[in-house]
Symmetry: C2
Subunit: 153 residues, 2 copies
DNA sequence: TGTTATTAGTACGCGTTAGAACTAATTGCA
DNA sequence: TGCAATTAGTTCTAACGCGTACTAATAACA
């Protein structure tokens, strides 16, 4: 047996695999429910970010949603086609576009957001106690921080 | 202030957001490194699953990688073009195809897999202690299980 | 002021990703 | 046996998701 130094036996893989599997399990449920509401993940994220705001430029949206600007353009195009958002030229910076919900978009937000939250809630609450949620959150954020530090190579 | 029952204030969101953000932070690093090795995430996953095996049919690969079969077909096409895998008709079931690494694919596996593990390792080890890794793993799996249980509606 | 650098957003190419429709082969069962 | 249901894999569509290149506008500074 050649277990010694087998790269497949590294301890951190026992975190990486569950992270991937859990994320996917959560997202699959999440996504399927959102699609029933006639939106995609990315579209939903944009709607939620815009909800209860007077609108914001694209670069602000990419910060909040973690979409790249290239991706965002397409998502906004499709949301425009659906009549949920509109693009208004900025008055102070002519490079910039303000994106905001239409009346129909606001409607959608007010209907879809609470419904989706309510759908996900029981999965978390039956799986984890409040104190476990807190631990999980803290550990995840610690790991994230480690990946965000600049590499020094 | 209308905080009461605001759907945006649900406790579980304090887990969901870190889960998403951490996953993405990890995957961004992961992906960028894999691309330097001239593979994509999905291609890498397939290579790793096939590594050290005599080959396996597509349905086995989808189980291991969590890719859907539709996605897998395209990934296998590109790996075939790169000369890393080959498809051999199964002898026992004429519907089935056995996928296995070519000599070049085995070479790739032996070179790329350890390199990638070694690349990721320090990010985990500087961020979490061994006991934290264990807790994180356990909590993630608990959450996953809750999402995998059949909904009863 | 004039040029250079930066920033905002779009366009495009490649490779996923899920899901539905499809073909061919195999299994189950009446 | 013989037809129905299942299974293996491919094809197709729509939408991401990332990176690069591009245009236009603004900021920085020599």
């Amino acid at each position: 047996m050649k277990k010694r130094n087998d790269p497949g036996e590294e301890a951190f893989l026992k975190v990486l695999r569950p992270l991937v599997e859990t994320y996917r399990a959560v997202m699959r449920k999440d996504d399927r429910h959102i699609r029933k509401l006639d939106l995609t993940q990315a579209q939903f994220d944009v709607i939620v970010v815009l909800g209860e705001t007077p609108g914001m430029p694209c670069n602000k949206i990419t910060e909040e949603t973690l979409l790249t600007k290239g991706t965002l353009t397409g998502v906004l195009d499709r949301l425009t086609t659906k009549g949920l958002i509109e693009r208004v030229p900025s008055e102070i910076d002519r490079r910039s576009t303000i994106v905001r919900l239409t009346a129909q978009g606001t409607d959608c937000f007010e209907r879809v957001f609470p419904a989706h939250i309510a759908y996900l809630k029981p999965f978390f609450e039956r799986g984890l106690t409040p104190s476990e949620m807190q631990s999980l959150r803290a550990l995840l954020l610690k790991l994230k921080k480690s990946f965000e530090k600049e590499d020094k190579k």
